[in-house]
Point group: D2
Chain length 346, copies 4
């Protein structure tokens, strides 16, 4: 059995890693890290695990942890993983970092958008960007995986085949994204109170959201040039789910079949990306609780643009599910182990 430790296990993403690993045949969790709840029973913080998880919360001592486990998930705020990791630790355990610390290759871009100093830039080069469907081969066996952001995963997978195949002008991309509230985390903030979120929709971080450079970098690799795009996130009154509606100018006249073929080229064999049937729009309800990403598109001939849509569960494929998928790849397990539950509806 692979032994796993989770730093930041009492956030929503941490809680979801626990749920998924409990259903994973090859892994056992031996360390529930949570600075805020040390010595408190994990099942008191998340009572869904009452009589299922008996452990108490531990601190986030990564040195100690590296002695005890085979893989560490860091589901913590930006900066923490970069401040803890070192050569010794990396020589002993695999790290799946759910924060942004190792996602962006240009440390200046990271420091500019995140507003903090990067504490261990020497590992950025080595870290692999863990978007499994794109970087599968590079992830296998790696010791440091930068697990992509939730908006990022949805945005990139929705746009990737079009950018890669050159069907759209990458400089014309506009991404309008909508997320459920679990993406905002479990911190006690007035803006995330029930009465503030319920019966409301708003854009936020307009022109400044930190997932922007991450999307730009990855899609830039796909088209082989540097790009700038617009990314606008919105907060939706629901617990889970991200929907991306993306717009771009078509480079030439295309048929439905041509665009469909380009999507199929990349996703037909993918277990977790479902290209929907003609005319069917992705909806977050159909992926809830699962690791699936549903994508589809609509050609808008009147304006010669392409509308691309993608939906996923931000806590699964957008965080914990992809982290487990990365772990499976790193350890050479079946990539889908622990992740094949059907979406739960309603």
């Amino acid at each position: 059995m692979i032994k796993a430790g989770i730093i930041g296990s009492t956030g929503y993403a941490g809680n979801e890693i626990v749920r998924l690993l409990l259903g994973h045949k090859e892994v056992e969790i031996v360390w529930y890290g949570s600075r805020s709840y040390i010595d408190q029973k994990y099942a008191e913080v998340y009572q869904n695990f009452f009589q299922i998880v008996d452990a108490k919360c531990m601190d986030d001592n990564m040195e100690e942890l590296a002695e005890q486990v085979d893989v560490i998930f860091t589901a913590t705020p930006q900066g923490l993983c970069a401040s803890l990791v070192n050569d010794d630790i990396l020589s002993k355990v695999k790290i799946i970092d759910l924060s942004a610390d190792f996602r962006i290759k240009d440390v200046n871009v990271y420091e500019q958008w995140y507003g903090i100093e990067h504490k261990s830039p020497q590992y950025i080069e080595e870290a692999v960007y863990g978007l499994c469907e794109i970087n599968r081969e590079q992830i296998k066996g790696k010791r440091l995986v930068a697990n992509p952001g939730c908006y990022t995963t949805c945005s990139i997978l929705t746009l990737y085949p079009m950018v890669k195949e050159g069907l759209i002008d990458p400089h014309s991309i506009i991404i309008d994204a909508k997320s459920g509230t679990s993406g905002a985390g479990r911190g006690a903030k007035v803006n995330n109170l029930y009465c503030e979120v319920n019966e409301n929709i708003k854009a936020y971080g307009v022109g400044t959201h930190r997932h922007t450079p991450e999307i730009e970098e990855q899609l830039g690799y796909a088209c082989g040039e540097e790009i700038k795009l617009i990314f606008t996130p919105h907060l939706v009154p629901m617990n889970r789910g991200i929907l991306v509606t993306a717009y771009a100018n078509l480079k030439k006249d295309v048929t439905y079949e041509e665009v469909k073929a380009a999507y199929d080229k990349y996703y037909e064999k993918e277990k977790f990306v479902r290209v929907l049937e003609k005319g069917v729009c992705p909806e977050t309800r159909w992926v809830e609780g699962s690791n699936f990403v549903d994508v589809n598109f609509k050609i808008e001939p009147r304006t010669n643009r392409l509308i691309m849509m993608g939906a996923l569960d931000n806590l699964v494929k957008g965080a914990a599910g992809q982290a487990v998928q990365n772990m499976n790849l790193v350890f050479g397990l079946d990539e889908t182990e622990g992740l094949m539950q059907a979406p739960m509806f309603p």
Copy 2:
């Protein structure tokens, strides 16, 4: 007292007209039309009006109605108003039509997008497009007002000053709109059931939504040329509210102050359009229950685009409130009468 009749009073928009007119000093409702509930007490259909409204529902006999009232609101599906109206009726009463029948000047465009034959195209020319802030003077005294659509009102008011002032390229406009579920009406459809809408967000009518040509026509007048744009509506799990996030290419370098000045030029004196302070995004919660539209913008210098946002309550400024505002203009009353309630939060 002005006597009002409502055809389609048992839909959500009809119900909201009732609520607003009950607070209007110069109007009394004398006809609650509802084909589906004839002879049933209105307050049994909408129990919020128990002990407030004593009337029973009547049929939608517009001839008869024209004898009894001064103004008719038609809050009915497309085609009904056009099939009922005639010279005799128009000579006797004012009509505020909340359907799309008289919104689009080109009857071919109407018939193509709505898929029905227009039964009285002879009145299209005469009808005024009742977007009060734009067409105020033309509305006064008119006998047939085409009350704008909910998405349309929000989209046009968000974009109008930019298009009119030529700050953005009107051929680059992309409108990503999000609406609460009351916009889908009170019909018993599986797709609008609680469990289908809750915990979900989806796009619908992608590239085909009927509000598209209405927005294109009105913004086309503003810039003096025919335009095509993308309009993508989304369904959000909340009762009320529309948020529009619109994108367009800037025609030239602009400062915040220049854009702000352009918005202020059109809206500074408007009672119901609020241009928010710098950096504040419109949110539907802040306009709920009111006739306000909140708008704001963000310059995105990296891509030289402008992001424009607007929020309103789809049942008030997006339907019943604007209808009452139009009625006030038609009859020469204070334009804000019955409409000055502050938004209700939470």
Copy 3:
């Protein structure tokens, strides 16, 4: 014009007092008190009031306030009003206290259930319990009104006629109450985050909720003996609304007509209490945004019990609306002034 000041104007109840007083013909608000937001614009805290309220938040200096206003609303945590009030202040202004400080006549009961020392028990005797429908005459002209709690108002009005007329055994009363989340206030607590409240229902404060002794005292007056009852509140994923379902043993065989007559005896002439028609259950959606309380009952002959139900908007009749109604009574105004808006649905 009556000048009003609000201490605690940035809580949900305070915000609702503002909304209601803005629609009140005889009052103007001159003091928006809020210790947490001093010098910040009120409309920045509650953007629904943008371009409607221009004032900045002030501290909660009651001495100073008493010089400037005719009536003070205290929408603050327990203990604050009792700690601020004094003879001088009471000689200058009317006080409508929305906290529990002056609701319970026995100071020991107050101190036991609230766990704090009462700082001015000398005013308890003088204070009138502001449940307008029961104590109307005593409220008129009073200088200190204890505005009832939200659960309490709903519970008492639902049960009062039955207890007063002796139709039920007051010692058998069980009240199962359900509330929207605005009742929990605007404090930043994990338990009130969107993701914690949404898709959940729970009981809380079982056997210990502080509204219990308040209900017991008032219903005890109605039946002329001391009573103990069970009161169990539940948190419901919605913004506004309280529903009470109450159970009690019938003292004798009764007919629908007899019970109905007892309700009508007390409520037929009441503007804000609506006894629904036979078989219609109160629902919170039909009173939202209004000062109405809907009540009804069902005889359960198989067990010889009576099921009584009541619904109100916790922020209106359960807080701010009743406070305004009390103010109207105190100043001899029309009791319904500023409160006659129809409920808003959906």
Copy 4:
């Protein structure tokens, strides 16, 4: 592999049986019955199963089905299973009936509360009431299982130990239950539309709900005498979950430890019933998506009553999960197979 057929697979309960059986090692689904969607792909009706379930919907021909499968789940309206079943069918397959047809032993009670004639009363005697924790031994090997109702399962499991052990007076029981909206089914009714359910709570079926006699019968067996009780269901704006708050008079003075011991006596070894720790109230969020039932209690010494609470997911332990649990028992499989997923939060 056990072959399973589902009649009524396109209702919410049917959809949940599919989700659970897809994760069950010993079962494959070979018949997706749905009268309304014959020949349509199942994954078009429930797009969560896109690329997971390839089958088309079939009619509800039970004769034919009996030839092809080992077990039939009937997730259909009352009366259908009773009208289809016969000796030949019962000799060939096991039937787990999720409707009420075989739950109530007294056919007169069934016909009175359900208002329909029972078409095959001859099988009532044979059918076992499939409340696994109570009737485990009798269920094993049975060919006709009456799967309990959702409210019923929650109510009985919450009250059973207290009634069985004689700690409460069974004639004093009052059950106040709250349910998410999936319990109302997927039928297109105005009352179940998003805007009607959202921001609302209401009681319904007061004194007349059909789960009442089912609860009374089963708890009557537990105490050995016929009982009548009050059961009041409420509709809550959430998808899943039932919370029961039950009240009864204590027969004698009891301590926390005595009551706890009585609960533990029945549930300590149960996998799916969790007696929570002292002072922790059951909440539906902690059981969502799982087969768990959380129960707890509070002694109310002031009135000498006991407050008992229980929470479950109405689609899992309240329907599909218990049906699978029953199937496991019938076929001699591990009772928990396919049912051990941890609850999903948020």
